[in-house]
Symmetry: C2
Subunit: 225 residues, 2 copies
DNA sequence: ATTTTGAGAGAGAACGTTCGCTCTTTTCAG
DNA sequence: CTGAAAAGAGCGAACGTTCTCTCTCAAAAT
C-alpha cells in the first residue's frame, strides 16, 4: 500500500478530475475498510450478536475511541457488512447474461457464485445475515433491496430468453424466480460444495432442475423412442 | 443433562404400565414445556443471543431462580429448542413413505412440512438454528444427527423406489439428496409461501424439479410427437 | 494554529447466574 | 392419623462480568 504516491496540491482541486482524493480521505477510506474486514472476520467466527466491539477492535488493531470515529454504532457496522455482502452476491449473479445460451450463462453465474462463497468461507456470514434480516428492519431492507434487484434482473433475463425462443413460453415466472432463489440460497447455506459433493454433479443436477422448469425448446434426442 | 429423574418407590413399580408418573414429575414436565414454549417465542422474536434470560422469564411468568431449577444455563435451553425443532422437522418428513407413488408421498410430505413451518411462523427459528450451528458445536451436532437420519431415510426411500421401478435407476443418490435438502431448506428460509407464491404453483414447480432428477419411468403422454 | 486521529480508561447499563429465603408438598416414624 | 423433618419449587435482589459507547487528552497532520 503506497499511501503517499499522490502529489498534494495546496490549491483548489481540478473539477475535471473528480476521482482525485485528498490523502486524508484516502486514509479514512483505508481505515474504514480495515474495520469492515476485521468485523467480517469476527462476525463469521462469533455471529453479529456474539462478536463484541472489543473483539473487532483487537482484530482491527484499533482502540474503541478510534473505531467509533468511523462507525457510530455496532449496528451500523452490521448494516455495512450486510450491505457489502449482498452487493457482492448481486454482482456475482449479474454475470448470468454472459454465456452461449441463457441457460449456460445462468448456470455458469450461479456455479461461480457458489464457488466464490465457498472459497471465501462466507456461508456462515450469509446465513447470519438472513437470520438477522428476520428481526432487524435495516438488514431486512438491505436484503429486500438486493433481492428486488435480483428479481428484476432474473425476470428480465427470462423474459428476454422467452421472447427469443431460448426457453419455453413459461408463464409462471413470478413463481419460478423465488423457487430458483430458494434453491440457490439453500445450497449456499448448506454449503453443498463443502460437504464433498463433486462440482460437476452439482452442476448436472442444477441444470436438470433449471431445465425442467424452463424447458428449452430444443428437445434432446434421447426421447426418440 | 444429568439430573436424577428416577422416582423412588417403596414397592416394585408396575412393569406393565410404565406410563404412570407421579404428580410431581408431571408438574415438572409441564413447567419444562412452559419454559421451552416461552423460550421459543423469545428466540423467534430476538434470536438466541438477542433474547435475554429475563425476557424468557417474563414470557414464562417465572422468576430466574425458578427457571434455573429446570435448565442449568441459557445454552442448555438453546440446545433443547434446537433439538426439539429438528426432531419436529424429521417427523414431518418421515411421512414421505405414505403416498400413492413414492414421488407423491415425497411431495406431499415436503409440502405439508412447508405449510407447517409457515403456519407456526418457524422460518426465522429455523434460520437462527442453522446460523447458530455454524459456530456452536452442540447445535451443530444436533443438526448433523437429524440430518444424518434424514439422509438415511431419504436414501432408503430412493433406493427402494429405484428397486421397485418407480424411479429411474439414478446413480447419483449421494449428490441428489443434499441438493433436494438444499432446495427444501432454502424454501423454508425464504418462506416462499409467505411471499405470496400460490401453493399449487410451488407444488407444480417442486414436482417438476424432483421429477427431472428422478425421472419416473412412466413417461407422460405429452411427448408423443 | 487548527483540525483530525488515536489511545484507553471507564461510565452506565445489561447480561447470565447465584444465593438466601419462604412456601408447599412429600415422607415417615410414632 | 399426626406432626416433625426433609425435599422441592419459587421468588427476586444482588453478584460479578461483559457489553456498547463516551470522554479526555495527547500526538499527528495540515
Amino acid at each position: 500500500m503506497d499511501y503517499d504516491s499522490n502529489h498534494t496540491s495546496n490549491h483548489a482541486e481540478p473539477v475535471s478530475a473528480p476521482v482525485e482524493k485528498g490523502a486524508r480521505a484516502e486514509k479514512r477510506e483505508a481505515q474504514t475498510i480495515r474495520i469492515l474486514d476485521a468485523a467480517r472476520n469476527c462476525f463469521v467466527q462469533s455471529g453479529f450478536r456474539g462478536a463484541s466491539m472489543n473483539e473487532i477492535c483487537r482484530e482491527a488493531a484499533m482502540s474503541p475511541g478510534a473505531l467509533y470515529r468511523y462507525f457510530p454504532s455496532k449496528e451500523s457496522i452490521i448494516e455495512a457488512i450486510a450491505e457489502q455482502d449482498r452487493r457482492q452476491d448481486l454482482m456475482n449473479l449479474a454475470q448470468m447474461g454472459a454465456g452461449a445460451t441463457p441457460l449456460d450463462g445462468f448456470i455458469a453465474a450461479v456455479m461461480q457464485h457458489f464457488r466464490d462463497v465457498h472459497e471465501r468461507d462466507m456461508a456462515s456470514l450469509f446465513t447470519e445475515i438472513r437470520a438477522e434480516s428476520m428481526r432487524n428492519d435495516a438488514v431486512a431492507a438491505c436484503c429486500a433491496k438486493t433481492e428486488a434487484q435480483f428479481i428484476e434482473l432474473f425476470t428480465a433475463f427470462l423474459t428476454y430468453a422467452k421472447a427469443n425462443g431460448d426457453i419455453d413460453p413459461v408463464e409462471d415466472i413470478d413463481a419460478i424466480v423465488p423457487m430458483m432463489m430458494a434453491l440457490g440460497e439453500g445450497m449456499i447455506m448448506g454449503d453443498v460444495i463443502g460437504r464433498g459433493v463433486p462440482i460437476e454433479k452439482i452442476e448436472t443436477i442444477l441444470r436438470a432442475m433449471a431445465t425442467s422448469i424452463l424447458r428449452p425448446v430444443k428437445k434432446q434426442p434421447e426421447n426418440a423412442g
